[in-house]
C-alpha cells in the first residue's frame, strides 16, 4: 500500500517536472513590436473609417485587391489584373485566400464592400474616393437607388470588375485606402451596430488578426496563420498602447517599454544631433488660403500682387526653425514633391522652385507697391489683414513668426485670429475668413490629389478663386490616357495656381521617429496609413 502511494507520488512528481519543463521551454522567442498611438482608434469598419489610427490597424488586419508597401504596388487579394485599352475597365483575378474563420475571400465580398462604401445609408465619409467609379457619385448622392448600376461587379467568385468614368492610371495605388478594404456581408448583417467594435465582432483577411482590444488602453495584434502570405510575416505580435501625452510615450520608449516612438518637434534637434531621429514627409502640405472675393472693405485681397507680396515676405526657413526646430521644411511649390511621376518622383520630372526658402523683401515690396498703385493706396499702414488659425501651440508659434516677418517687411498690419479647430472648419467652409491656415493630405499617389481641389466647382475650394484655363487643363488631364502627357498638363495647372496665388505655399510636414536597436523594416507611408510594419521584424 505504502509502496503504491510512493509510486503514485513519484509519477505525479515526474509529471509535474515534465510539465514545468514544458512550460519553461514552450514559449519560443516571440517577435513582438510595441508602439503607441496618441488617440483611440475611432473605428475599424473599413468603409466608415476616416482617420489615420484606423488606417494603421486596418491595413494590417485586412487586405484589399492590392497591397502598397514602401510605395510599390504588390498583388494582394488579387494575384493579377488586366486594364482595358481605354483605361476604363479593370479586371481583377482573385487568389485563393481565406478569411480568418476559414471562409474563402470572394469577388462578391469586394462587390459588397464597394457598394456599401457608396450607399448613402452607410454614411461613409470617404465615399467620395469612389466617385470615379461609374454611377458612384449618383448612387451616393441618392440620384439613383439601384446599387447594381454602380460600376463594380463580381463576374464570378474569383473575378472582380471595376468600371470607371474616366481613366485613372493611379487607381491601383488608390485601392490601398482603408475604405476600399473588404468586409463580408454576413458578418456586417449579423453584427449590426456591434460590427468592428471588438476583436470578435469582425473578420480578418490580412497579415494580422486582433487578439485583444481594450478601448483607450491596448490593442494586441497576432499573426494570422490563415493569411495567404503568412510565411513572409516575421512578427508574431504587435502591441499598441494608447498614450495621449507625447512626453509620456517618449519616457516609455526611454524606459524600454516601446519599440518605436514619434519625436515631438521641440525635441527634434536634440535627437537629430544624437543621430537617433529618422525623418520622412507625412504628405501634409500646408498653405495660407486667401479669400479673393471682391470686398470693398478689403480690396487688396482680390489683388494678385498683394498676395504675392505676402508670399515673398515670408521667410519659410526662419519661421519653421522657430516653430518646429526645422522638422517641417519649406515648400517652394504647391504639389508634394514626392508623389509619383512617370518613372521617378513628380518633382524630379517636373522640377519647379517658384518661391525661395528665404524671404525676398525687395520682391515683396515691389509687389506691394504695384498693388497699392493699382488700388490707389498711399500708405501700407492703411492695409490690414486677419489670419485665421486654430488653437494649437504649433499653429500659434508659426502665425506669430509670420506676423512679425510680414509686418516688418511690408509695414501692413497682420492680425491673427485664434479659434477652435471646429470653428476653423466652420468659418473656412462658409468662406468667413480673409486668410486661413489650411492644407491637404494626399488620398492617392498622384499630383491630381492636390490639384483637383482648386477646381471652381469643388466644395473644398472656398477661396472664391476660379480659373477657366485651370479648369480646362484639369478636365483635359482627366481624359488623357498617356501618363506623361497627363502629368505635363497637371504641371501646367500647378503653375497657373502659383501664378494666380489664391494660396501661399508654406511648408511640407515631416515626422521624426526612432526605434530601438534590433527593430527593422518599419515603413512610414504618406498616404492613408502612416505606419507599415507588415514586413518588419524585431531581433532582441
Amino acid at each position: 500500500m505504502r509502496k503504491t502511494l510512493h509510486n503514485i507520488l513519484a509519477v505525479i512528481f515526474l509529471g509535474l517536472l515534465a510539465f514545468l519543463g514544458l512550460a519553461i521551454s514552450a514559449p519560443a522567442a516571440q517577435r513582438e513590436f510595441t508602439f503607441s498611438m496618441a488617440y483611440e482608434i475611432p473605428g475599424l469598419d473599413p468603409q466608415k473609417a476616416n482617420s489615420i489610427p484606423s488606417a494603421v490597424v486596418g491595413t494590417h488586419i485586412l487586405e484589399g485587391l492590392v497591397r502598397v508597401h514602401d510605395g510599390k504596388i504588390l498583388p494582394g487579394m488579387a494575384e493579377r489584373w488586366e486594364i482595358s485599352e481605354d483605361g476604363l475597365v479593370y479586371t481583377f483575378h482573385l487568389r485563393d485566400a481565406l478569411w480568418n474563420d476559414g471562409k474563402p475571400v470572394t469577388a462578391h465580398d469586394f462587390e459588397y464592400s464597394f457598394r456599401r462604401l457608396l450607399d448613402p445609408a452607410t454614411a461613409a465619409e470617404y465615399a467620395f474616393a469612389a466617385y470615379g467609379i461609374e454611377n458612384g457619385k449618383a448612387f451616393n448622392k441618392g440620384e439613383i437607388t439601384d446599387p447594381s448600376l454602380v460600376g463594380v461587379k463580381a463576374l464570378d467568385a474569383k473575378t472582380f470588375e471595376i468600371r470607371l468614368v474616366e481613366p485613372m492610371d493611379y487607381l491601383l495605388g488608390y485601392l490601398q485606402l482603408m475604405c476600399f478594404l473588404p468586409t463580408r456581408q454576413d458578418v456586417v448583417e449579423h453584427e449590426k451596430d456591434a460590427f468592428a467594435t471588438g476583436a470578435e465582432h469582425m473578420v480578418y483577411n490580412g497579415p494580422f488578426v486582433i487578439k485583444e482590444w481594450k478601448h483607450e488602453q491596448i490593442m494586441i495584434l497576432e499573426k494570422n496563420p490563415r493569411y495567404w502570405n503568412s510565411d513572409a510575416i516575421k512578427l508574431d505580435r504587435a502591441v499598441i498602447h494608447q498614450v495621449h501625452e507625447q512626453n509620456t510615450a517618449l519616457n516609455l520608449f526611454e524606459s524600454g517599454e516601446l519599440d518605436m516612438v514619434d519625436i515631438p518637434s521641440n525635441l527634434y534637434e536634440k535627437y537629430a544631433t544624437e543621430g537617433k531621429a529618422k525623418v520622412s514627409l507625412t504628405g501634409a502640405d500646408d498653405w495660407i488660403k486667401v479669400n479673393v472675393r471682391p470686398d470693398p472693405k478689403r480690396p487688396w485681397l482680390a489683388n494678385k500682387d498683394f498676395r504675392k507680396a505676402l508670399a515673398w515676405a515670408i521667410d519659410r526657413e526662419e519661421y519653421l526653425k522657430i516653430s518646429t526646430k526645422g522638422l517641417y521644411i519649406p515648400n517652394l511649390r504647391y504639389v508634394l514633391p514626392i508623389v509619383a511621376g512617370v518613372e521617378k518622383h513628380y518633382a524630379e520630372e517636373y522640377p519647379l522652385e517658384y518661391y525661395t526658402a528665404k524671404a525676398d523683401p525687395e520682391k515683396a515690396r515691389a509687389h506691394l507697391k504695384a498693388a497699392m498703385d493699382h488700388l490707389g493706396i498711399d500708405d501700407p499702414a492703411k492695409i490690414s489683414v486677419t489670419y485665421l488659425i486654430q488653437d494649437q501651440e504649433e499653429c500659434r508659434l508659426m502665425a506669430e513668426a509670420l506676423q512679425d516677418q510680414i509686418q516688418r517687411t511690408l509695414g501692413i498690419s497682420f492680425n491673427v485670429q485664434i479659434v477652435t479647430r471646429k470653428q476653423r472648419f466652420l468659418q473656412e467652409g462658409q468662406a468667413d475668413y480673409e486668410l486661413v491656415y489650411s492644407g491637404w493630405g494626399p488620398d492617392f499617389d498622384d499630383p491630381l490629389t492636390y490639384i483637383e481641389i482648386w477646381g471652381s466647382d469643388i466644395s473644398h475650394n472656398n477661396s472664391g478663386w476660379g480659373n477657366k484655363e485651370f479648369d480646362d487643363i484639369v478636365a483635359a488631364s482627366r481624359k488623357e490616357t498617356d501618363r506623361g502627357k497627363r502629368l505635363a498638363l497637371l504641371f501646367e495647372a500647378e503653375k497657373i495656381l502659383l501664378d494666380e496665388a489664391p494660396m501661399i505655399p508654406l511648408q511640407l510636414r515631416r515626422r521624426a521617429w526612432m526605434t530601438q536597436p534590433g527593430v527593422s523594416g518599419i515603413v512610414r507611408p504618406f498616404i492613408g496609413s502612416d505606419l507599415d510594419f507588415v514586413y518588419a521584424t524585431v531581433e532582441k
Binding site: 469598419d45 452607410t122 461613409a124 478601448h215 483607450e216 516609455l252 526611454e254 524606459s255 473644398h460
Partner: protein
C-alpha cells in the same frame, strides 16, 4: 427619513434633467459641428446628418434624446463609430474610480493629519512645515507634479513604472500626483477648523475636567473640526472619481478624464451630454452621502427637520 430621501431623489431627477437640457442647448451653440473635417463634401455631410438624425428639427432631436435617456440609452458617440456612450463610461469609469478611491483615501489621511498637526502646533516650526507643504501643493499644477514624479521616480530612479496601468506598482505615481492638491486643500481647511475649535468653551471645559490631551483631540476637537472637510470632500470625490484629464493623460491611464476634453474638442455631442449626465448624478449622490454623514458625525444636524 424615507420622505426626505424621496424628496431629495425627486429634486435630483429635476436637477439632472435641467442640467442635460441646458447642456443640450449649449453644445449646439458651440461654433462648428461634429462632422466638419478637412475633406467633407456637402453631399457626404448630408448623408452623415441623416444617419445620425441631425436632419430633424432641434426640438425633435431633444425629445428623442430625453426619451432615450429615460430608458437609460445615452446614444452612440459621433466620433467613435458604433460606440455607445454608456459603453465608453462603463469601460473607462472603473479605472478613474480605482485611481480616485486610492487618491481620496490617501489624500484624506495625509491631508487631515497634516491639518491636525498644524492646528495643534500653533506657531511652532511643525505648523510652518505643514503650511509650506500646503502652499506647494496648491500652487503646483498637476501637469508639473505628474511630469516631475514620472521623470524622477519613473525614468531616472526606476523605482516605479513610467506609465500604463497594469497593477499596484503602476498606481503609485499617479495616486501621489493626483493627491497633492487634495492634501494641500484638506490640510488647510482642517488646520483652520482645528484652530477654530481649540478656542471653544467646551474644549476648555474638557480640559478643566482633566481629560487626557488625546481624548480631547480625538473625541471633541477632531469630531467638531472635521465637518468642513466632509463638506468639501463630497464634490472633490465626485470630481476625482470621474477622472482627470491631465494625470490620466500623463500616466496613460484609460480613464474617463480625456473624454471630457476630447468630447468638447470633437464636438461629440452625445459623449458630452452622456458624461455631463453621469457626472451630475455622481455629484448629487456624493452630496447626498455627505448630508447623511453630517448626521452621523454631528447628531445635532437632523435630516428630517425638528422633531417634536
Amino acid at each position: 427619513m424615507t420622505r426626505y430621501i424621496l424628496k431629495r431623489f425627486l429634486i435630483s431627477l429635476l436637477t439632472v434633467w435641467l442640467l442635460v437640457s441646458v447642456v443640450f442647448v449649449l453644445v449646439r451653440l458651440l461654433p462648428g459641428d461634429p462632422f466638419s473635417s478637412e475633406k467633407l463634401t456637402p453631399a457626404i455631410r448630408a448623408n452623415l446628418e441623416a444617419y445620425y438624425g441631425f436632419d430633424q428639427p432641434l426640438h425633435m432631436q431633444y425629445f428623442r434624446y430625453i426619451g432615450n435617456l429615460l430608458r437609460g440609452d445615452l446614444g452612440f458617440s459621433l466620433k467613435y463609430q458604433n460606440m455607445p456612450v454608456s459603453k465608453i463610461i462603463a469601460d473607462s469609469f472603473p479605472y478613474s474610480a480605482d485611481l480616485g478611491i486610492r487618491t481620496i483615501l490617501f489624500a484624506s489621511l495625509v491631508g487631515i493629519s497634516l491639518g491636525v498637526i498644524a492646528g495643534l502646533n500653533r506657531g511652532k516650526p511643525l505648523e510652518y512645515l505643514c503650511i509650506v507643504i500646503a502652499v506647494i501643493g496648491i500652487s503646483l499644477p498637476d501637469f508639473i507634479t505628474g511630469s516631475l514624479l514620472q521623470y524622477f521616480f519613473g525614468l531616472k530612479l526606476g523605482w516605479f513604472p513610467v506609465a500604463l496601468w497594469r497593477g499596484f506598482r503602476y498606481t503609485v505615481l499617479p495616486t501621489l500626483a493626483l493627491s497633492f492638491y487634495t492634501i494641500a486643500l484638506l490640510s488647510r481647511i482642517m488646520r483652520t477648523s482645528m484652530l477654530d475649535v481649540t478656542g471653544q468653551d467646551y474644549i476648555r471645559t474638557a480640559r478643566a475636567k482633566g481629560l487626557s490631551t488625546f481624548r480631547i483631540v480625538w473625541r471633541h476637537q477632531l469630531r467638531n473640526a472635521i465637518l468642513p472637510v466632509v463638506t468639501v470632500l463630497g464634490p472633490i470625490t465626485a470630481a476625482i472619481l470621474t477622472g482627470t484629464f491631465v494625470i490620466e493623460s500623463i500616466y496613460a491611464i484609460p480613464g474617463m478624464g480625456k473624454f471630457y476634453v476630447l468630447g468638447v474638442q470633437n464636438l461629440d455631442y452625445t459623449v458630452i451630454l452622456g458624461l455631463t449626465a453621469f457626472y451630475g448624478i455622481f455629484l448629487i449622490a456624493a452630496n447626498f452621502v455627505v448630508d447623511i454623514l453630517y448626521g452621523i458625525i454631528d447628531p445635532r444636524i437632523a435630516l428630517t427637520g425638528r422633531r417634536n
